[in-house]
Amino acid sequence: MTATGKYLRIALGIAVIAALIIVPMNFNRYGLYILSQWAVMTIAAMGLNLTLGYAGQVSLAQGAFVGIGAYAAAIMTTQGGMPLIAALGVAIVLCFAIGWILGYPALRVQHHYLAFVTLAFSTLAFLVFRNEDWLTKGIYGISNIPRPNVMGFATNRPLPFYYFCLGSLALVSLAMWWLIRSPWGRAFVALRENPVRALSLGIDTRRYTLMAFAIGSALGGVAGTLYAPLTQYIDPVPFNLSLSLDLLMMVIVGGSGFFFGPFLGAMIAVLLPEWLRFTQGYYLMLYAVAVMLLLIYSPTGILGILDRYLAERRTKAASALRAVAKSRLETAP
């Protein structure tokens, strides 16, 4: 990459971040709610992107981990009167541990078989949320979930809470950026591309498979602890299989295995149906058609299109250089 290209990217990044901070200041409560939802779903999708996009393990249980995080937050902050940060810690540890255990089947089964195992877990989690009344209040759900105070600032109003979500997203993104560039990240990719080769290169594929599952699941838990104070009421229904499928779609539509894939995917899954609402009864149909067309055109998602375009340009530039070099060789005396 050239130096100008690099500066351009940094400038673009700063512009986007500035826009995310400044533009919503004038938004109404609805707009802020939708944007907060986008930030929360992006975190959950980033977790799944790590499991699926980087390590190549199909999981249909991410929605269940969001649920575990949400219930941890709801139960601890309403019944226990504890701060959200404590719930966050519990959610991360709990989801990490469960994710690790759920990773074991991934050592034995792959692809759609693994999808079935995680699907079963997703159903199990839903049944626990619904049937264990003593803990989760069952189908009645938990209401009046408080929003946290962050360093002395109350986040009850929509705008501060949006900044809280955005800040959390920023922290998670930084951690993810670091993780992917670390030897661990490279090991995850090696695992996806060619597990046998990865093993022969001395990568402990067993440990990294479990790790990919556990970290991805923990991020689902983080998203959940934000989701509970966002809606301030949770019941088991939003955490059924459809949320897992939604998150899977976000990752695939955005571009699985691309760092910014989940950001775009969550944007499409959360914002596109809202934009299409002017079509009244047809909005969900149009949304479905749009997603299908996109995946037919580019099975690797939106970032796949960009990637293809950049690759083409690079090839063209390279072949142009080669042609010049060749002609020079031929004209040389």
Partner: protein, 378 residues
């Protein structure tokens, strides 16, 4: 070209001014389950609203102003419902309508209360009106007022000493089951079997076997419409002949259509039914059928009534005042004689619960037959 634009602008200004002189439309916002698991509920509710608004507007509106409603889909998901209600409230509607699912009502009612906007909803869970919310209103009986009537009927008329309860495990079914279990305890009725089923369940063979094994004096069925029909068919197949009792859903029009013969003999308490022996309700049914080509369930009636609640309250106040609306609806009695759109006399108490006559219905030869009219309390 420019003169054309100018003329257009002028026309727009003039017509806008004319509209203003007549009074701008009164804005209402509806958030309901138009897709997802509650689509039947939400679409009936929406159609009822549209029908009532059309009627009122053709007769000149409320206090000379037309009604205007926006519909938003909650996808039967509380999180989405919250977003849509937030959006609706940002546009400062006169009154908020919906949602129908109790969970979605629970998540949205604090928002409406905070904005000081009255919310007229379809939820039936007992607890909704018990949290001291001054802006929330029902359109039908809550479970805390319908279930005692069912329990009393089972005790006094059916003389059942043990009852099997079949309920759907969602907020609607669980709420009803919890209330009726308490009521049974008051009458010393034993719960012979307590059977939880899933929304969308197709096969009830195992559940009916359990009922058979428990051999109760009666069965209380509290499921959604489609599942009620499947349940009735299976009960007939396994030839269970004890009385079958339900509340609203079991004896609904849709159940009768789906279950056919198997629905005969099913009884239930109904707060609102299109088969009520009330001329105004029959007329409503005809109008609805003509406009939408199907017979509505009680949710269609609820949506319709919600709009007439708004009309009656506003006319009583003599002005369109969103802030004073809730105060005026509390304690209000609306008589069908003076406001035919309300269909039956109704009173709203301080909690937003309603008092209205109810019916005990039995299915005879595929038709709802009203066996008993339970009068309004006050």
């Amino acid at each position: 070209m420019r003169s054309g634009i100018f003329a257009g602008l002028l026309l727009a200004t003039v017509s806008a001014a004319a509209a203003f002189a007549q009074g701008a439309p009164i804005k209402l916002a509806n958030v309901a389950e138009l897709s997802g698991g509650g689509a039947t509920v939400g679409n009936n509710w929406k159609n009822g609203i549209d029908l009532a608004i059309e009627e009122i507007n053709t007769k000149g509106g409320v206090l000379g102003r037309k009604l205007e409603v926006t519909h938003a889909d909650s996808q039967s998901n509380p999180g989405v419902a919250r977003a849509q209600v937030q959006k609706a409230l940002d546009n400062e509607p006169y009154v908020l309508l919906g949602p129908g699912y109790s969970g979605s009502v629970k998540v949205t009612s604090p928002l409406a209360a905070e904005a000081g906007i009255a919310q007229i909803m379809g939820g039936e869970a007992a607890e909704l009106t018990q949290g001291g919310n001054k802006f929330l209103f029902r359109t039908s009986f809550g479970q805390q007022s319908s279930m005692p009537k069912v329990a009393k009927y089972i005790n006094d008329e059916l003389k059942a000493k043990s009852v099997a309860i079949v309920w759907v495990n969602n907020d609607f079914g669980k709420g009803g089951r919890d209330v009726i279990t308490k009521e049974f305890a008051k009458h010393n009725i034993k719960v012979a079997a307590d059977i939880s089923t899933e929304a969308g369940q197709a096969d009830f063979a195992a559940d009916v076997s359990k009922i058979k094994a428990a051999s109760p004096d009666a069965v209380f069925i509290y499921l959604n419409e489609e599942e009620s029909a499947r349940m009735l068919k299976e009960l007939k197949r396994q030839s269970i002949s004890v009385p079958l009792m339900g509340e609203t859903t079991l004896v609904g029009q849709k159940v009768v259509e789906l279950a056919g013969d198997a629905a005969n003999g099913a009884r239930g308490h109904v707060g609102l039914t299109t088969d009520a022996p009330v001329d105004l309700v029959k007329a409503f049914r005809e109008k609805f059928l003509k406009k939408y080509n199907y017979v509505p369930d009680h949710n269609g009636l609820k949506g319709y009534l919600a709009i007439y609640m708004i009309k009656a309250t506003t006319e009583k106040m003599g002005k369109v005042d969103a802030k004073a609306f809730a105060d005026n609806l509390h304690g209000l009695t609306i008589k069908a004689a003076s406001e035919p759109g309300i269909l039956m006399d109704v009173t709203f108490d301080e909690k937003g619960d309603i008092d209205r006559q109810g019916f005990l219905v039995e299915i005879v030869d595929g038709k709802q037959v009203v066996k008993q009219v339970l009068p309004k309390l006050n």
